[in-house]
Subunit: 221 residues, 2 copies
DNA sequence: GCCACCGTTACGGAAAACCGTAATCATATT
DNA sequence: AATATGATTACGGTTTTCCGTAACGGTGGC
């Protein structure tokens, strides 16, 4: 089991909650920080002193305040940590449930676990810790389909065009008519519906509005 | 009438079209640029040389390319110009027909005319030029209702909350239920519909998807 | 040829959004 | 107290979206 763990989480209550959990799990050396920069500094220091952390549990979003930060988000912190300390295990613990974001964290930054904050977030966190202690990866059930072989995680030009036209206020019917006119295939309303449905599950979106909001945030359109 | 005019427009064809129009109107000194930064430099130079421009016709959106720009958009250019050269007349000539954007340009940056690129854009442009030569303001018919006393141009916290919840994927029904639970008024589905309808006309949006896309672009949510 | 597979299209029903109208309620004015 | 005004809510009808099912059509394997 892990001996030295760092918790990076700006909300004090949640930070405390994770601390308690770790204590119950028998972890004795636990450090807590509320800023990403502090997290990096502590880990760097510990490494230089030859008493490195062996696990970091980090949030993704940190409220900005007066303190200007080199690492404004958990995302950037994780990226830095994993590139500088490849042996350090990292669990991301966040409310974020967008599959694309989760995929990026695993694929690009090689995190070890992703746990969604939710009703039974701590239960999942416990499970995550025991899994990665065995060198396994862990994925919260909420986002378990992020890597299901089903959905191709590729978004092609057609998808982008679809989302773009949606965001411009065209109805699915109008898009269908437009594609027919411009000889873009598939053009049927049915196919457009089906494609949008695929995109919705792919991005964990509740409806078309949500979907467009998400892909705009991702900068896809 | 104006003697020295600058055209800032990245699309060569449109730039040329405006040039022809100005020539027909008897303007002899016409400069043309395809980058916002060049526009600023030319105007600054002319001012220092005591041969200032008396009119700028600028687009809003400029395609980004390899040249990095201090002023990435017509919006930022106009802002700078009007603050540094208050006497310089400015016509914004753009396809953009979002009322909020037009309002901002008039209210915050004090532009002199807003002309929508459209079927008879050049006709409107001619009219705009003659109007502001008489120190009048001009507004394209497409966006003439930007200042109609009808629509309050104020967006309050309730509106933002509404848009935010929409963008998070909640249905209008769910938002209604949420507001009832949290004692936020008005909470009825009917009121929510009505408010969203008001926002749609206010932002020239075709539907809720379009609306959310627009306010996200504006950074309202 | 036959068949399985996959993308496209068609269709129908349920849910949600859209839109106009009207009733209800609270508040301010006289 | 009576009335006017505006905000909130209710309701009904149309359109659009959402979702499941199924038919159609081309491609590749056997």
């Amino acid at each position: 089991m892990f001996k030295k763990v760092l918790i990076a989480e700006d909300m004090e209550d949640i930070n405390k909650g994770v601390f308690s959990l770790l204590t119950e799990l028998g972890v004795t050396q636990i450090d807590q920080v509320q800023y990403c920069d502090d997290a990096y500094l502590k880990i760097k220091r510990a490494d230089l002193d030859n008493v490195p952390f062996d696990l970091v549990i980090s949030d993704l979003s940190f409220k900005v305040d007066h303190r200007s930060q080199t690492y404004p988000s958990g995302h950037s912190l994780v990226e830095k940590l994993k590139s500088e300390f490849p042996n350090l295990k990292v669990i991301v613990y966040s409310v974020e449930d967008r599959l694309q974001a989760v995929r990026t964290l695993f694929n690009q930054h090689d995190i070890d676990a992703y746990v969604c904050k939710s009703r039974n977030g701590l239960k999942n966190l416990t499970q995550a810790i025991s899994e990665i202690a065995k060198d396994e990866k862990f994925l919260s059930p909420e986002v378990s389909n992020a890597f299901s072989s089903e959905n191709e995680l590729e978004i092609d030009d057609y998808d982008i065009s679809l989302l773009d036209n949606l965001s411009k206020g065209l109805s699915q019917d109008e898009i269908s008519a437009l594609y027919r006119k411009e000889n873009i295939s598939p053009a049927s309303l049915s196919s457009i519906e089906k494609r949008l449905n695929k995109l919705r599950v792919q991005f964990n979106a509740n409806n078309a509005i949500h979907l467009v909001a998400i892909v705009k945030d991702l900068g896809l359109i």
